[in-house]
Every structure is written in structure tokens, then in C-alpha cells.
């Protein structure tokens, strides 16, 4: 559904994406994992056309994006930090998005709006909202138009446990509908039950894209967190160096 061919992106000295080629298919839930600054958000933004790669091509439904914008109607995006016009009320924000998209009401997915009880806050201006509530609004917007592709950047950061659980349930329901879902998160335990594939990025390079079952077999760990920790230790040369010293001293 999304195919990426040899994309490179450099921010001055920092190589944010280093020759990444990858392909995502329908029905997959892909966890993008990697240390801070490893290029996760840059990759997501490249797919959305917010960041323009220096070289390489991105295809959406086998069509080369090439600066176009119409394909974005099929993507629901939840940003890491959602900030909205200060003076706009929540209700206005939703009516504006509906107005721009012109989708008939019966195609809309209002589940999260109901679950998060956002309807009761429709009269509140965006500037008065807490970080968590903004996050809920972002989530509700991402799912609103029932898009076949969802891109969620740190979806559970800042949400209380109950809301975070609701969001996970929602993601699971969408997964069952056969949507393609891309998630980045540092809370690996959140991803455990959702994910079908893990993509690991480090310093802009893709280390691997593996089926979660394969990953579990390879590492012998059931928990995603431990499996990833094992890989990070095994592949990171500095990690080995430190453990060698520690072993010697012992």
C-alpha cells in the first residue's frame, strides 16, 4: 500500500534518513521503533509530504506521490504534539475539518468523539485544553474520516491510563478491519498486543523490518520490550564495549 524506495534526507550535518527502502501492506500494524532522533518522525512526515526527501520515491497505492496532495484523504494522521488555533472551539475544529473534506456524515467515524466525551466540550476554546485533551482531539481527528491508512506518532504519550486503553481498543478494532496502521512509541508494552511487524530505525538507517512472531523466535523473548532490548544490546558496538569492561572488572 505504501512503498518507499531509497529515500534519503539530510538536515545539515545530521543524516535523518539513510537510504531507506521498505514496503507496507494492508492489514499490517507496524511499530516504528528507535532511539530519539533516529528518524521515525522524519519518515512519517516524508510519507505525509510534510518533509521533502532529498532523493528517493514514495508510492501510495502504487502511485508515485511526487508532491501531490489528493492521496492524503486516505491517511489519518495523529501528530506527536497537536496544537490548534487558540481561539477555535473544539466543535468548530471538527466542523471545519468536515467542511474541508466534504464527506457525507454517514461515512464518518465518531466513535472516539463519543468515547472521550468530546461532544460535551464542543464549546471549549482550544487554548484552555490540557495536553491530554488535545491528544484526545488529535486522536479523534485521525480516525474521523475512516481512512484506510492510519499514522499515529506517539499516540499514547500524555494520555491517562483509561484513555490510553480506549485508544488501544480502537486501534485493535481498526486493525481487524484490515487497515494499515503505523505507530511510533517508546512505550513498548503498549505496542505488544497491537503490532504485527516491528521496524527498527537507528541513526536514520533501517536495521530490520520483522514479523513479530519471527522476532520473538529469534530473541526467545515474549515481551516486545525485552526482545528489542536484547537486539539493541547485541547490535550496538558501544554496548558490547561497556559490558566487556564491566566483565573484566568483575
Amino acid at each position: 500500500m505504501i512503498r518507499i524506495e531509497n529515500i534519503n534526507k539530510r538536515f545539515k550535518k545530521l543524516k535523518a534518513l539513510d537510504n531507506i527502502s521498505v514496503s507496507f501492506e494492508k492489514g499490517q500494524v507496524i511499530s516504528l521503533i528507535g532511539p530519539n532522533g533516529s528518524g521515525k518522525t522524519t519518515l512519517i512526515k516524508s510519507i505525509l509530504g510534510m518533509v521533502k526527501p532529498d532523493s528517493g520515491k514514495i508510492f501510495f497505492k502504487d502511485e508515485y506521490i511526487n508532491g501531490g496532495f489528493a492521496y492524503r484523504k486516505d491517511i489519518g494522521y495523529m501528530p506527536q504534539i497537536g496544537r490548534y488555533p487558540d481561539n477555535m472551539k473544539i466543535g468548530q475544529l471538527f466542523s471545519m475539518l468536515k467542511n474541508i473534506r466534504n464527506e457525507p456524515e454517514e461515512n464518518l467515524d465518531n466513535e472516539l468523539l463519543k468515547e472521550y466525551e468530546l461532544y460535551s466540550m464542543f464549546e471549549k476554546p482550544m487554548r484552555t485544553l490540557s495536553g491530554g485533551t488535545r491528544q484526545k482531539v488529535s486522536a479523534a481527528i485521525a480516525f474521523l474520516f475512516n481512512p484506510p491508512v492510519l499514522i499515529l506518532d506517539e499516540p499514547t504519550a500524555g494520555l491517562d491510563p483509561l484513555s490510553s486503553e480506549m485508544l488501544k481498543e480502537k486501534i485493535l478494532r481498526e486493525k481487524k478491519k484490515g487497515k494499515l496502521i503505523l505507530i511510533t512509541s517508546h512505550i513498548l508494552s503498549d505496542l505488544d498486543e497491537l503490532t504485527t511487524h516491528v521496524m527498527y530505525l537507528q541513526e536514520g538507517k533501517m536495521q530490520f523490518l520483522k514479523n513479530i512472531e519471527t522476532l520473538r523466535e529469534d530473541t526467545g523473548e515474549i515481551k516486545l520490550g525485552k526482545a528489542i532490548a536484547r537486539i539493541m544490546k547485541g547490535e550496538d558496538p558501544t554496548g558490547n564495549f561497556i559490558s566487556e569492561i564491566l566483565n573484566k572488572n568483575n
Binding site: K45, M50, V51, F69, P85, D86, N87, Q92, I100, I141
Partner: protein
């Protein structure tokens, strides 16, 4: 443009534009109240407009652009083209600044002095608002962070209101032995504020005091060609920075 309606709504809700409208209104009304002679009042009003309008347009646009950065990001995740997003922002800001100007200055001018000069002031004010909003868009799209953006907006304002005139005066003094009338006409076009000033002044009686150059100007700007020339140059000053801003915005990483 559905989008600019929301941008406009957001701006009108913030108190800055309302304060700006009130400020312009109070200044214009008090000018007309204090001066017996409405043409003298108009001259003072012109001087204030030529300084305040560019400054407010530049700074307000730059601040608004950076404050709506995340909003632009949200719009970019929707199926909308970058050109449309930026132009909607431009439309929203210019409509709100123009309405502030027409309410704050337009109403008093129409009430106290609905003359040729009054119309020239309104025309110039509207044109300068659009010109400097457009320039501010180019500056903010180019600069990476807020501080640099506002800094360059202020620098541009200094350039157009002070530095440019200083350079022009220097040139005129050093080459005062040569006939420079045509040349001054040309360089005035390179600064929208100077162009606006000349355009208004020549509608006033004071232009009689400007000697030979004034007569030449009056000849040129008094005619239909002069109006066409001013409109044309102002339009270029609006369109070119905006076009450059759109071009840059299309390639920009957000």
C-alpha cells in the same frame, strides 16, 4: 476559500486586531479634531499611516505565521495543496488587517474629509497593508525560527522607512549637479512607502512647495498614467513576494 474563513475567524477573535482598529480610529479622529484645517490633519495622518501600517502588517503577519505553524501542519495532513494553505492564510490576514484599516481610518476620513486626498490615503493604506503582509510572508517562510522571522521583519521595516530614504538623499546630494528628476521617479518606485507618500502628497496643496521636481511629479502622478503606474507597481510589490513565498513554502520541510 473555505479555509481563509477559519483563519479570519481565528484572527478576529484575538484582541490584537481589535486593539489595532481602535488605535487607528482614535488617532484618525483626534487628528481631525485637533486640526482646524482638514488638509493639515490629513498630512499628519499620512505620516502616521506610512510608519505604523507597514510595521503592524509586518510584525502581526510574522507572529501570526509562527503561531499558526501547528495549524498549518494539521492542514498539511489533510488533502490540501500547500499553495492553497498559504494563500488562505494570506487572504485571512490581509482581510482582517484591511478591515481594521477601513474601519479605523476609512470611516473618519469619509466623515471628515471625503476628498481626493482622502481617497488617495485610503488607496495607499490598503496597498501598503497588502504589500507588507506579502513581504512578511516571504520573510517568515524563509526564516527558520520565530526570533529570526520577527527580527528580519523589523529590519525590513527599518530599511523601507529609514535606511532607504537615507541612501536616496545621499545619492541626490552627491549628484545634485545632474538632472535627477526621472531618476528619483524611478527609485521611488523601488520603495512602496515612498511611492505611497508621493502619490498622496501630490493630491495635496503642499506639492506646490516642492519646486521643479514637484511640478514634474504632479505632471506625471496627476494624470491617469500616474494612477496606473502606482497601481501597477504596488501590485508587483504584492504579487512578487507572495509568489516567492509560495514557491519557497512548497519546498519547505515542516
Amino acid at each position: 476559500m473555505k479555509l481563509s474563513r477559519y483563519v479570519l475567524y481565528d484572527i478576529l477573535r484575538s484582541k490584537i486586531v481589535i486593539a489595532y482598529t481602535l488605535f487607528l480610529f482614535v488617532v484618525s479622529v483626534s487628528m481631525f479634531q485637533m486640526e482646524e484645517d482638514s488638509s493639515k490633519a490629513m498630512l499628519s495622518l499620512m505620516n502616521i499611516i506610512l510608519i505604523v501600517l507597514p510595521l503592524v502588517s509586518l510584525v502581526f503577519t510574522t507572529i501570526h505565521y509562527y503561531n499558526s505553524y501547528e495549524f498549518i501542519e494539521l492542514m498539511l495532513s489533510q488533502p490540501l495543496s500547500r499553495k492553497r494553505i498559504l494563500l488562505s492564510e494570506f487572504a485571512g490576514i490581509s482581510i482582517s488587517l484591511l478591515s481594521a484599516f477601513f474601519i479605523g481610518v476609512g470611516i473618519p476620513v469619509l466623515l471628515y474629509a471625503a476628498s481626493d486626498t482622502g481617497m488617495a490615503i485610503l488607496f495607499t493604506g490598503a496597498a501598503l497593508t497588502l504589500v507588507f503582509t506579502s513581504i512578511a510572508f516571504y520573510a517568515s517562510v524563509t526564516a527558520r525560527d520565530k526570533a529570526k522571522g520577527i527580527g528580519s521583519a523589523l529590519l525590513l521595516w527599518f530599511y523601507f522607512t529609514l535606511i532607504y530614504d537615507g541612501i536616496v538623499l545621499l545619492i541626490l546630494f552627491s549628484f545634485s549637479d545632474y538632472p535627477l528628476e526621472k531618476f528619483t521617479l524611478l527609485i521611488s518606485a523601488l520603495n512602496p512607502i515612498d511611492l505611497g507618500r508621493i502619490f498622496i502628497m501630490l493630491k495635496m496643496d503642499v506639492s506646490a512647495l516642492m519646486g521643479y521636481t514637484g511640478a514634474l511629479y504632479k505632471d506625471f502622478f496627476g494624470s491617469g498614467t500616474g494612477l496606473l503606474f502606482t497601481t501597477g507597481i504596488m501590485t508587483l510589490w504584492i504579487v512578487i513576494p507572495l509568489w516567492l513565498a509560495v514557491r519557497k513554502f512548497k519546498k519547505k520541510d515542516l
